[in-house]
Amino acid sequence: MYAQMIKSTGEGVKSLEDMDPDERAFQERINAGGKIEPKDWMPEGYRKNLIRQIGQHAHSEIVGQLPEGNWITRAPTLERKAILLAKVQDEAGHGLYLYCAAETLGVTRDDLTRDLLSGKMKYSSIFNYPTLTWADMGAVGWLVDGAAIMNQVPLQRTSYGPYARAMVRICKEESFHQRQGYDIMMKMANGTEAQRKMAQDALNRFWYPSLMMFGPSDKESVHSAQSMAWKIKMNTNDELRQKFVDQTAPQAEYLGLTIPDEHLRWNEETGHYDFSEPDWNEFFDVLRGNGPCNTERLEARNKAWDDGRWVREGLLAHAAKKRARKLAAE
């Protein structure tokens, strides 16, 4: 999801009998629906996995500002501009809530930032696609934030307290994001022929990348099984993807737009939509750094970090000076 391809220790899930007393007490607490808090004992694998998962999620929120930031200066009306600006500011906030949760696990903000900037840590593949028209702002809000909500709502019940609490805050705000996106799509789909075409084109380009956000099927994966036992992953990728398609297909129909999948149809027997898998080769290629915008996104983050250096250092020096003056006066 926002943290795609997070892999755990790879050892598979231990049975309670095979665990030492600390680990067993830890797992039993999770099984009983209890929360793990920062100072509690936790297995190293749990800690490292969470740092990677929450870190990637945070990076996704931060990098996710770029495709939408692209349209702030070109929004069609002042109202749309103010709404988009508020939405992008929320994404920054979501990144900060998540960094703050990751930091409770014994990693510093700068460690995480450094690993994003060097490319060592990843962010969601979806943000490596370009936003070419205003309708893409609609498609991103409707589909990308819609997919994110599918993943984030169950994570409000995740076992790690600070992560769960960050998710609660995020989910409260995320609904605004999806609705503003759908609102743009409604306007475009009911507009002129040119606007309707633009909306359809945005759906065509964002449909499969949105399905990829959930990651490849993981029903056989031992990594996922461990993450699910730890309750840092609540559903399989396929479950969430299906749920997303089931929810989104009727919404596309309402807009009078066509989802670019000739195999998409309602299946009476299963009670779900059948649909085509995205091209997983493309997904892995984008994760490897070969998506349309990977280079641009990382360059933008690196530039922001480098250009902001004098501000970070200047404010630290100013704070030190003020402290020293105050001490001298006492």
Binding site: Q89, G93, L96, C100, R109, K122
Partner: protein, 114 residues
């Protein structure tokens, strides 16, 4: 994509929460009083060079939708906390004083609300 063999955090030791390097802005814990006459409540943390900036940043990060009427910030390194291992010695003594709870006493219905 991180593979299980190359965990970026394999060699990191858990640092104490709030410990930062000299080049980093310190970590501040943020407490917000909601609209309804409640106490200040911990909402999260953020980085800022000093207390004044911490409050300004807290306003932007934690109260974008009227969540609060008052903000406290305190540098994370200044917070002293009990540790989970002390749970027994800290809280168990109150377990055997059930008479501290009003339900310990049976008051006949005829007495009325009490």
């Amino acid at each position: 994509m991180s593979s299980p063999e190359t965990s970026p955090y394999a060699d990191t030791k858990a640092t104490e929460h709030g410990e930062t390097r000299k080049t980093e802005w310190p970590l501040w814990e943020v407490f917000i009083r909601g609209q309804h006459g409640l106490s200040h409540r911990h909402v999260g943390s953020l980085h800022a060079p000093d207390a004044e900036m911490a409050i300004k940043n807290a306003r932007d990060v934690y109260t974008r939708r009227n969540e609060g009427v008052s903000i406290w910030v305190v540098e994370a390194v200044h917070i002293a906390a009990s540790s989970p291992e002390e749970k027994g010695s800290l809280y168990e003594p109150s377990n055997d004083k059930v008479y501290r709870h009003p339900t310990f006493f049976d008051i006949p219905d005829e007495v009325g609300a009490m």
